[in-house]
Amino acid sequence: MKWILFFGALIGLSFCGREKFFGDQVFRINVRNGDEISKLSQLVNSDNFKLDVWKAPSAFSRLVDVLVPSVSLRPVKSFLKSQGLEYSVTIGDLQIYHEMDSIAGDFPDLASRVKIGHSFENRSMYVLKFGTAEGGRRPAVWLNAGIHSREWISVATAIWTARKVASDYGKDPTITSILEKMDIFLLPVANPDGYVYTQTQNRLWRKTRSINPGSRCVGTDPNRNWNASFAGEGASDNPCSEIYHGPHANSEVEVKSVVDFIQEHGNFKCFIDLHSYSQLLMYPYGYTVKKAPDADELDKVARRAAKALASLSGTTYQVGPTCTTVYPASGSSVDWAYDNGIKYAFTFELRDTGHYGFLLPANQIIPTAEETWLGLKTIMEHVRDNLY
């Protein structure tokens, strides 16, 4: 009986840790001498702050990476300051990649981390592949997130979903049957340079960080850069615009990496792009008001998914084709996917509807991810049952 309680406590703790993951920061502390090491140990070992050492000092490195829960940020900072300990806050994408690595490590038979390319500033682009069969090109689902860097809830939802897929495989019949038939590829940070920029410089940055020759303005809107009515209505040719489509389609290496991977794979059936905010579930087209050939079916699926999503906490999503539901948008990922044979192409605009907007509080991350998961499963179930 005792060991049940012990394991329960352990699981409880780690779940708790998972809950507080977002909003946490990783401090990189430079320990210069033995005295500083002992001060740091003092801090880490004290139970008050629930610190978690990610990387301990070694013979080769005097750098210690410590995960600090958001609630402890202030006191830890002032402790470090008062003790004269040098530290810097590491940036978000490292945390994400660390977590992806951790998932792949925890579920080696199911999940693997795959590098698909790099960003303009040479950051790696990683996807998590979930697959139950070796080799071959099973029909696959692509989950895209974080293409607009200020939409942090999209990244958070994606990484939560990754661990959910891995943990529920073999336990939840739906996801198990989905993975028996299809692979899932998940790209949590489709715009790593932008994501880092939102952590360090400008929380509301949207675009990539590529340089525009001849302009003082930086970046292209990566969701106007795909080859689907590129430079059409709903995009701008002004590099200073937030919806600048870029000099040509796939000019952004981040976009090109995904395009190349998907085309090389050749067997994707579903492409879902996560954004925020507005609480919308949309399908093609964004670049025209013309009805997509599969609009009726996509609409039905989307409505079922929105209903499933709402069943958890009552969060309501509006459903419809992009152009008339939100606004015209050309060169979008979902339109490109659809026009390239990926029939089940959907865009989620996650919580909320404008109260916090991009700055969704951390305590809404898990509820958002949990409800979105129900919507995603509905879509994937339909794909599983309607493979073409």
Binding site: F22, G23, S70, T198, E242, G354, L359
Partner: protein, 399 residues
């Protein structure tokens, strides 16, 4: 009700007038000076643009300006009504121009009324307004309503606008749209009804002038729109609202009916809106008062850069600042809304607070607005806003 000629721009001047009893009477011993342009008192000068060019503006919370004379029981009468803007003085300025301020974001021509409502809970009646000549302007409604005698011990009257009534902006221009009625004509912009509802709500919020009665859109119940040959768009609609800051377990749905007139791609839609009261007057006054008290206790200078922070967190002690910013921001968002563009408040940047010698609280801040559908983030200096006194209106209480 007399329309005041807003001569002197100082709070002091206005207060004197009120004290002299020339203001519109609200009955029951409370007077509110009617709409007058809001202007910086105490000879403030427009601060130099800072933070990458975004001019900051003073947000004055608390009692009105200098001089304490003229209030009934030796109490400072806080201004009432909502003013999120600096209005044109009287009618002497040409429409469309405001006092030049350098950055567009600082100059404001809003005319905000002190709205006041009946003490009962029925939806208040709309007062018909004569159409003004182009461009549309906000007309102050006759100030009417109730007040209550206050105990001398309360330092602040929270006699802000009571329920909304007939706050209206005159529709612009000549005559009625000529096209026949149609529902959501495909030529009309998408989501036009929601657009109109949002514009109406920004208007309702800043006119109500209270951080405790802020509303957000719940659902559009019905609506229709018509377009005239000049591509101006009139939308009539009914919609429900939620409280912006809903309390635990509280389901307070309000209802509004509005007529919104969008000029073709030009901002500042003309609004005529009536809403049911969301929160009982006394309760609102209490909440506003608590908010004021809370803000007075904030440590200055504020150790804050952005609200919310990157993770969407607003320290509870700073929540009032956000609410006030939303109130002031509502004015700016109303001003900028067209049938194609709408806004949400993304963040407060550069909040500065400093203490003054009197009981007022001075704020200096800039809001970041998220613009649909361009996705741009607009830096907007917030207009001077006095809380709970809304410039330059003061409430005096006859005890």
């Amino acid at each position: 009700m007399q329309r005041r000629e807003a001569g002197s721009r100082t709070g002091l001047g206005a207060r004197r007038r009120v004290a002299a009893g020339k203001s519109c009477s609200l009955g029951e011993g409370v007077s509110i000076a009617p709409l007058v342009p809001c202007q910086r008192s105490r000879g403030w000068t427009s601060p130099a643009p800072r933070r990458g060019g975004a001019a900051a503006s003073r947000h004055r919370a608390g009692k009105l300006g200098p001089g304490r004379s003229g209030s009934g029981a030796g109490r400072r009468g806080p201004g009432a009504g909502s003013s999120a803007g600096r209005a044109r003085p009287g009618r002497t300025r040409a429409p469309g121009s405001g006092p030049p301020r350098g950055r567009r974001g600082v100059a404001r021509r809003g005319l905000i009324s002190s709205s006041a409502g009946a003490a009962h809970l029925e939806p208040v009646r709309r007062t018909p307004r004569p159409p003004a000549s182009m461009p549309p302007r906000l007309q102050p409604p006759p100030a009417s309503g109730t007040g209550r005698p206050r105990a001398a011990v309360l330092p602040l009257a929270l006699l802000l606008s009571l329920a909304l009534q007939g706050v209206a902006a005159a529709p612009a221009g000549a005559g009625e749209p000529e096209d026949s009625l149609r529902r959501q004509d495909p030529e009309l912009p998408r989501g036009l009804l929601e657009q109109a509802a949002r514009a109406a709500l920004h208007f309702v919020n800043f006119r109500a002038g209270s951080p405790s009665t802020l509303r957000v859109l719940a659902d559009v119940l019905e609506g229709r729109a018509r377009v005239n040959p000049k591509k101006e768009c009139q939308v009539d609609l009914v919609f429900t609202t939620d409280r912006y800051n809903p309390e635990e377990g509280e389901e307070r749905l309000g209802k509004c009916s509005a007529r919104v007139f969008f000029r073709n791609q030009k901002p500042r839609p003309a609004i005529n809106v009536t809403c049911t009261r969301l929160i009982e007057k006394n309760k609102r006054q209490q909440e506003d008062y608590l908010l004021y008290k809370h803000m007075k206790q904030l440590k200055t200078p504020l150790d804050v850069v952005s609200i919310p922070d990157s993770h969407g967190h607003i320290d509870p002690s700073l929540r009032p600042i956000w609410d006030l910013a939303f109130l002031g921001g509502s004015y700016v968002m109303w001003e900028k809304t067209t049938q194609f563009l709408h806004y949400y408040m993304a963040q407060l940047s550069s909040v500065n607070q400093w203490k003054t010698n009197d009981d007022a609280i001075d704020f200096d801040y800039t809001v970041l607005l998220h613009e649909f559908s361009t996705q741009e983030i607009k830096n907007k200096a917030l207009v001077p806003l006095k809380f709970p006194s809304f410039c330059p209106l003061i409430l005096t209480v006859h005890s």
